[in-house]
Amino acid sequence: MAHDGIGARLPRKEDRRFITGAGNYTDDIVVRNAAHAEFVRSPHAHARILRIDVSAALRAPGVIGVLTGAELADDKVGGLICGWMIHSKDGSPMRAAPYAPLARDVVRYVGNPVAIVVAETKNEARDAAELVEVEYEELASVVDPAAAQAPGAPQIHAEAPGNTIYQWALGDKGAVDRAFAGAAHRVEVDLINNRLVPNAIEPRAATAIYDRAEGRFTLYTTSQNPHVTRLVLSAFVGLAPEHKLRVVAPDVGGGFWSKIFIYPEETVCLWAARRLGVPVKWAADRRESFLADAHGRDHVTHAEMAFDASHKIVGLRVKTIANLGAYMSTFSSSVPTYLYATLLSGQYDIPAIYAEVDAVYTNTTPVDAYRGAGRPEATYVVERLMDIAARRLRIDAAEIRRKNFIRSFPHQTPVIMNYDTGDYEASLNAALSAARYAEFPARRAEARSRGKLRGIGLSCYIEACGLAPSQAVGSLGGGVGLWESAEVRVNPVGTIEVLTGSHSHGQGHETTFAQLVAERFGVPTDQVSIIHGDTDKVQFGMGTYGSRSAAVGMSAVNKALERVEAKARRIAAHLMEAAESDVELKGGEFVVAGTDKKIAFANVALAAYTAHNLPPGTEPGLKEGAFYDPVNFTFPAGTYVCEVEVDPKTGAVEIVQFTAADDFGTIVNPMIVEGQVHGGLAQGIGQALLEGCRYDRDSGQLVTATFMDYAMPRARDLVSFNVSTTATPCKTNPLGIKGCGEAGAIGSPAAVINAIANAIGVERIEMPATAQRVWETCRAAQAAVAAQ
């Protein structure tokens, strides 16, 4: 039998259905008599709603209903919530304003939903939506986070004076001030972490059904965490108690966090299904995705790092303004705080860190977590500073990092995190040798003979994954626990179903989770099914994001498997008339050590269900559940090396080599891990070179609202990645897994920008490094050289 346990490079079980078009996505679900929804959205960034007239729309062909915020309020449907409480440094709670699913009095961003039109066909709903007359009084708007707090800036919510949601801080200010005062060298940088639009390939969608007979809702939706969706819709929005609400997330085409959040549209569809008495279907088109999916990043940062005479870091000071958009989305408050500032120590032994973060409202689409969520922003700050410091202090970019690496574990950083294990030098060395770092000067010289500027950039990233120890989350203000659940059902014939509370939307759970079962019970992976994404089938779970499925979700499965194995062993020992302690599980069979007595795992399962001959006191059946709560975060880390060639005449940047050496601990399926790294790198390189979400400063219009203007990375923008791994297994979970889903997006932007800066010979270039920006930077650099 081929090895298909942990470490096997198995092709993904789910790919056949995806590649042959046999997937079952939310919009594929056909419901009898379903009606179609279209949202009427604000065309203005900020305006008062004076009047909404739906009468013409109601008379249009096929229209079943038109509902606005007034009806929503009549039905006492609650607002959306932000589930993480942050306190400002003065102790006051964050100033969260109400977030109504349909705006009633004021619209606060272009795309803010105002009404829902439900009709027999999608086209009729669209036609009628154009007939909804909304009279607005336009108000001044602000879209730039750096301008939001200025005196006289337009006020977005009465609850948040100066548009300031919180002014939070982490770390020891006094210690940092003292470190800087005594430092031999100081470097500083101003950075913008550019706003991104997630753009999962499958737009968000919902099919909402209300069963009058049972008083029960079903919501099929593009969700990364259906149980949390159900929890919020019942406990906060108040649409139905949990047992009267089934949430199903079938096949989901990508998320990158953007499908975690509980959004207005899905909520309104569910309510409309009951109010109008028809199932309601909605699927966003791409323009709606641009306007209405939570965006990512959007930080403005000033950072300073201090070094002693031997180039050891003595202090780090960071001030960030984070744009949270017009309303606080589900996890928004946690991203620029506990997912960001806690990672500012990077891979380095930094004795003192102080970070201040102001979160602001602006007249833009809500901003929330996006692949990496806070950690890419932290890596970008630290790794840009390291490169600038190397340049100023005239030492090699690898050497300055090597000199400052943390080398003994566990390591307590000054910003909460306690790193369990790691070997940063190992991944640095692996990356440098794979990238032929030592021979770079020859390559640079050769490029120069072709008129190209060649540059190399490093990024030594760290992230905190395996979200997250529940008690820690609670103590930091999180509204949920971040454990995971599992149930393992062994059927009488020995096939196995695993129910997990995590959710696959591209990660490959159906393969990797089955590999874990194969490893333990010796059953081939095709005899294992992974069931997820349906609150009627699966016990409560927390879903998938933050690279948590393997580290936390699989640890829960592992716990349940242990319980199944213990019971099966007891039965096997009884059947073979041996002592339990003499029975071993090997290659799918229980054997009695030192004898030829054995019984196949499947036969034990059958015995458990026939129950003709069980040990006294043993219940029939073979099914166990478990909840696993991690005791710490996991800390994947690694080094990325990017090499670019810049055409100084056009500003075109070509990535000519990209090397990744990651430490993800134990690897379940190397092919899937490589795929995750490739995807993450593509998104990180996209952020560095191409993707820039832009609002017009005056009108507040989203300028990049289609793929004609928002540049997604394409294969031709990339290079064949050279990826490898080193491993220090995680010490705090049973499988040694750290997680790999976000690393690529976290580590790569700094590597790319460092490479471009190195090529041109400058300190600073903003993301995305578009041709025009690069060209202008080259010109300025040439002019500076000429002036000397």
């Binding site: 669209r126 056009t650 075109a652 070179l689 191409l690 540049a711 923008d717 025009q772 060209w775």
Partner: protein, 265 residues
């Protein structure tokens, strides 16, 4: 998409009649521009008159010293044509740079020039090569065809039938992609015509394709990359948007022209 009626025309004459009788009807060829605008409700049409299959609009032939291309020839057909690759390599190269494979297999030259997007590629070739546009009513010379932003000399109801390109001595096209749409941020087509005259056409940079006369005269003196690059282009009146300022576009024109000169065969 707003409600519309699809009609598959059985002849060029029937298509012309349908357009005459229905002022809000629109021709549909490859649909690569029209369908997205209809779907986004940026355009509406009472009828869509499909001409893509009409025999009168097909063909890719050598006629004396010209290559004649039917209006419904797709970008992919043109890029792969041995005739075009041998006689007008710059044109074949240009067609292969348009959009992505699905766009190239559906989009047509007639649709592209009739639409005259300021960032489209074909207008640069048509203008630089001094092609003639044969329509259902007349023949229009390249210098008269492109009249402004999304504007052409075509009258309402007039149909592009074929485009006839004189075979040049040398030609080349250099395209600098707008990173999101991959249309031309700037595209420069350089042609040395049979009579030795030099024409340089620029797309993407301005509201409509135009000839870079300063580069043409520089190249007339010396057909070298250096000559092209030393010619200056004014930024006045050029496009400025989030993808590139007028200054950046003006800078790119001679740089790309120089690269085209170096490539020209």
């Amino acid at each position: 998409m707003y409600q519309t009626t699809y009609v598959r025309a059985s002849s060029l004459a029937e298509a012309a009649n349908l357009l005459r009788d229905n002022p809000d009807a629109k021709l549909i060829s490859g649909g690569q521009t029209l369908v997205p605008t209809l779907r986004q409700r940026l355009a509406r049409a009472s009828h869509l008159v499909d001409i893509v299959h009409l025999a009168e609009l097909r063909g890719l032939t050598l006629e004396g010293d010209r290559v004649v291309i039917g209006a419904t020839t797709t970008h992919a057909e043109l890029a792969a044509s041995d005739l075009v690759r041998q006689r007008i390599p710059g044109l074949a190269h240009l067609a292969g740079l348009i959009g992505d494979p699905p766009v190239r297999h559906l989009g047509t030259i007639g649709g592209s020039i009739a639409n005259n997007d300021p960032a489209a590629d074909y207008p640069a070739a048509v203008l630089a090569l001094n092609a003639a546009v044969h329509t259902s009513r007349r023949t229009i010379g390249a210098d008269d065809f492109f009249t402004g932003l999304f504007e052409t000399a075509l009258d309402p109801g007039e149909i592009v039938v074929r485009v006839s390109f004189p075979i040049p001595r040398r030609s080349a096209y250099e395209k600098f992609h707008q990173s999101a749409s991959r249309f031309a941020l700037v595209g420069v087509f350089v042609a040395v015509l049979a009579d030795g005259s030099i024409r340089v056409a620029v797309t993407g940079a301005g509201p409509c394709v135009f000839r870079a006369t300063s580069i043409e005269s520089a190249l007339a003196r010396s057909f070298t990359a250096e000559a092209a690059e030393s010619a200056a282009i004014s930024a006045d009146g050029l496009n400025s948007d989030i993808h590139g300022s007028a200054e950046f576009r003006a800078h790119l024109v001679p740089v790309l022209a120089a690269r085209a000169v170096a490539q020209a065969r």
